[in-house]
Amino acid sequence: MTVLVLIEHDRGSLNPASLEALTAARAIDPQIEALTLGAAADGLAGELAANGAAVVHQVHADLLSDYGPEAWGEATAQAVRALKPDAVLACGTERGNEVMAQAAARLDLPMVANCIEFVPGDTWTITRVRWGGSLLEQCTLSATTKLVTVAHHAFEATPSQAAGTVAPLPMTLDPALARTVVADRVERAAGVTLATAPLVVGGGRAVGSAEAFAPLEELAARLGGVVGCSRAVTNNGWRNHTDQVGQTGTRIAPDLYIACGISGAIQHWVGAMASKKILAINTDPEANMVAKADYAVIGDLHKVVPAITAEIIRRRG
């Protein structure tokens, strides 16, 4: 069996989720191969070898000098035609899912997104996540080449040294595919983001207005964290969607998530559940967020949050 892993990188910098995909692939078959698109990724061969790639297939093409869903999808499809692998795995990231869908459409093959478990065979049996991770689905996949993406965080990346023999894969890409390549980009300013913050103070509908987030901002700032919110808040226009935690917002994983006036709907919870600890502040002791949290304060957030800040000032000045 040949299992090929499509490596995700941004202008040569490896997306660590690719290492999870390599680990997942080794659980299917210890002998795995990697595919990198664009010359910028050539430098990754050593790291891919250290993570189990026996062969690293490298594709060079002008069109692959930056990301483009169609160029990447077409290159992946051509690699499948040339190498005839039994399976191709990619990470279940925005790009990973997009490229695999593009490749699947071009190959007229099925593609199963965000998988967490594989039982290989003639037909594979797969467990995948639905509802952003709140529900699992068991499905079967029958295809000459199995195209799947691996749900982010489902596998813990572990190194394993392999040969990593570099094998150039010649390919001609139709210049017409340039219609969807990145034309422009604005780099993000450095700093703590919601996804990586060590502490998040979340506010829900009960906060009541944009202005009423000020005490939450203050508490977050004192603790070196950032403010997040529920969809009820973004829907009311109180905060930007970039602050939204949940299925259609950001997945957070702080050391502590302080959820203030948030009921804990499943679509919010799925974005918060990777938090190491959760403290719920809610007037309703029956709220789902309270039931699922590690700690809770029952009370009005408008009184509790300023009291916490005042106590911090009392102790630390």
């Binding site: 941004d10 509802w131 699992l136």
Partner: protein, 255 residues
């Protein structure tokens, strides 16, 4: 400008998703239905594009007869036309869904002219296959980018913006295009009373969906494992503040 937007009717679960005894579906006995927030934003984007550039918008769904509700909701905020592709089973696999939507688009375009923009959600809320829009776009030989959080149209030129891990990416495209929209692109409006009344009168066109089963077949739904949690109560009201700050110190968050 002619804009088509594709939406999917899904249950709106609350605190927990319960599964039916046979493991084939979400137990919807006490649930309302909705579409993904991504798709709500795609509907809003369709209405705004027509407000800015003139023309007409159409909403399409493949689903049970009850999906009429989601079509009319789209109409209530300003979408002009609605198309239902009725299916008897709960859900079609993504290849089959894409084939049916592609066939329907071909028929609609043969009758009423090409769509300049076809909008999808970034992913469906329930099955999250991340592919139906991409497959439709490929079948129609149109460019497709997913995850879009900004659309600007100037003549035939389209600039579509999306967030990436590195920052913001902009795609310069030419009509016709297919785009997958992400929540945050806009703030969907609420229907007005007038909009609600008007949506009741919209004639929902029906067409028989065409498509053969694909290679991915659902066997059963399974509840995700949940860690049992016991909540430590730190107290009631502002009097709990010292206990909270003790905790912040204990966790090393307050240094």
């Amino acid at each position: 400008m002619r804009v088509l937007v594709c939406v999917k009717r899904v249950p709106a679960p609350g605190a927990k998703i319960n599964i039916t005894a046979d493991g084939q579906a979400v137990d919807t006995a006490y649930l309302a239905f909705t579409t993904s927030p991504h798709e709500e934003c795609a509907v809003e984007a369709a209405v705004q594009l027509v407000e800015q550039h003139g023309g007409e918008s159409t909403v399409l769904t493949l689903g049970p007869a009850e999906a009429d509700e989601q079509l009319r909701y789209a109409a209530s905020i300003g979408v002009n036309k609605a198309v239902l592709l009725p299916i008897a089973t709960a859900d079609w696999d993504p290849q089959r869904t894409a084939a049916a939507i592609t066939a329907a688009i071909r028929e609609l375009e043969a009758a009423g002219g090409a769509f300049d923009i076809v909008l999808f959600g970034n992913e469906s809320a329930d099955s999250g296959n991340f592919q139906v829009g991409v497959r439709v776009a490929h079948a129609l030989a149109r460019p497709m980018v997913n995850g879009i959080k900004g659309i600007e149209v100037d003549g035939a030129a389209v600039r579509a913006r999306r967030d990436s891990e590195a920052g913001v990416e902009v795609y310069a495209l030419h009509l016709p295009v297919v785009l997958g929209v992400k929540e945050g692109i806009n703030l969907p409006r609420y229907p007005t009373l007038k909009g609600r009344l008007a949506s009741k009168k919209v004639a929902v066109e029906q067409a028989v969906p065409q498509g053969v089963a694909g290679g991915q077949q659902m066997v059963t739904l399974v509840q995700a494992a949940e860690q049992a949690s016991t909540t430590v109560m730190l107290g009631n009201g502002p009097e709990a503040a010292p206990a909270v700050v003790d905790l912040l110190e204990e966790l090393g968050i307050l240094k």
